[in-house]
Symmetry: C2
Subunit: 249 residues, 2 copies
């Protein structure tokens, strides 16, 4: 196993960091790695906002559901889907790019681009001995997040990435069985086998919690998912995204 | 610079591969690395389809705009946003998860999850000396792609990842200037500076093409983008995604 694969497989989310900021060089390396990722038709439809201002960080931490590590970390990045610069380019080149920019297709492209870049950033940070945690909680209140970060139209903050020197290392949760995630040649299959795999996975997750909590917890994954999905969270998103002139047509 | 950062910064898309399949072990390592990525609230909302069947690969290559390397490679992965298993889970646990699954928020979650996983797969493959190329061209004709891969409702094939032993290595295109992608504390800025950065970048891209083609090409990036975005491509996407019961509310 090489160093890269080792780094990738060793990933766990870190939620407690030392009070020690990243150096400018570390930030620059992480962003350069993000930028090295593939991008659809070279469109580069994302931006990264690094938040250092502690007042802004504290507000973001509150908005993300009082997640302390959004404020307390070595550096906080916000990854944004960004088609704003392409709006300017259209004006400058006197071409009508608006229908494209407002399409669901380009919304997807921007999300994919930003996510590929973010994962490069995450792996790069981990390879430097830093810990990371993705912060989807920013999507709880995007209107407020946009105000804090002053992002223009056609820019959607997607998630944060808290990075820092780990002060508490957490465990690695087992993932869905390989056969459940990976299909060969086609997806279609017996629903019975599919449900059986979920059952197997539920057992694995139950024992994982059982061991870690001395028997106090033993939730099943399907139960967690069903409960989480029963709560209708962030249902404002469609309207919000469309108000920002993306995913419209 | 460590081995991981070196691998990440050395990325370039490979479009010509040796006629040599990946081993099962290589495939398993790549998929395990994909699965090690972070996932929003542990939802794991993606699937990966590995295509070995040469007839299917050839059809996919045609659909992607006659991209030969979709058929000729060491292995072809298709990354899908997948909320199908969560539909089954809802039924099994007798919970109403449908409004959640149909939300724009969960559509975004599935896209982000699949992309984070894919980038781990890409980096893992590159660390093993393999080359990769993302294939967004699959989105040209998703109805046909779904038929070939037999994916159920609430599964959207997002892109392919062609992986293999490189037989021709291409150059690395310069990315947008660091200051253009990375903002500190807030996005807002002088539009003049923003346009100046684009001008700088246009110059860099022009010289890149000029050098590589002995002066035959010297397109600017903003020109490429304006031309690409003037063509309205994949405008069926919104309807298609909604027909597949995602991004509906």
């Amino acid at each position: 196993m090489n160093e890269v694969i080792e780094t990738i497989l060793n990933h766990r989310s870190i939620r407690r960091f030392e009070d020690k900021p990243l150096t400018d060089e570390q930030i620059k390396t992480i962003v350069s790695c993000a930028q090295a990722a593939s991008t659809s038709s070279f469109i580069q439809a994302y931006s990264i906002i690094g938040v250092k201002d502690i007042v802004k960080k504290q507000k973001l931490a509150e908005l993300a559901g009082n997640q302390e590590y959004v404020a307390k970390n070595g550096h906080f990045f916000v990854f944004c889907a960004d088609l704003y610069r392409h709006t300017l380019i259209g004006k400058q080149e006197e071409k009508d790019v608006i229908p494209s920019l407002e399409s669901t297709e380009k919304f997807m492209v921007a999300l994919i681009d930003a996510s590929l870049a973010a994962q490069n950033a995450a792996i790069a940070a981990e390879s430097m001995g830093l810990g990371i945690c993705y912060i989807g909680g920013l999507r709880n209140h995007l209107e407020e997040v946009k105000t804090i970060l002053k992002t223009p139209e056609r820019v959607i903050p997607l998630f944060g990435l808290a990075v820092g020197f780990p002060s508490k290392v957490s465990g690695k949760k087992p993932r869905l069985p390989f056969e459940h995630i990976y299909h060969e040649d086609e997806y279609e299959q017996s629903q019975d086998i599919y449900l059986e795999q979920l059952q197997q996975y539920d057992d694995a997750i139950s024992s994982y919690y059982h061991e870690r909590t001395n028997g106090k917890r033993q939730d099943r994954w399907t139960e967690q998912m069903a409960n989480m999905l029963t709560k209708q969270s962030r249902m404002y998103m469609k309207e919000f995204v469309q108000k920002n002139k993306l995913n419209l047509r």
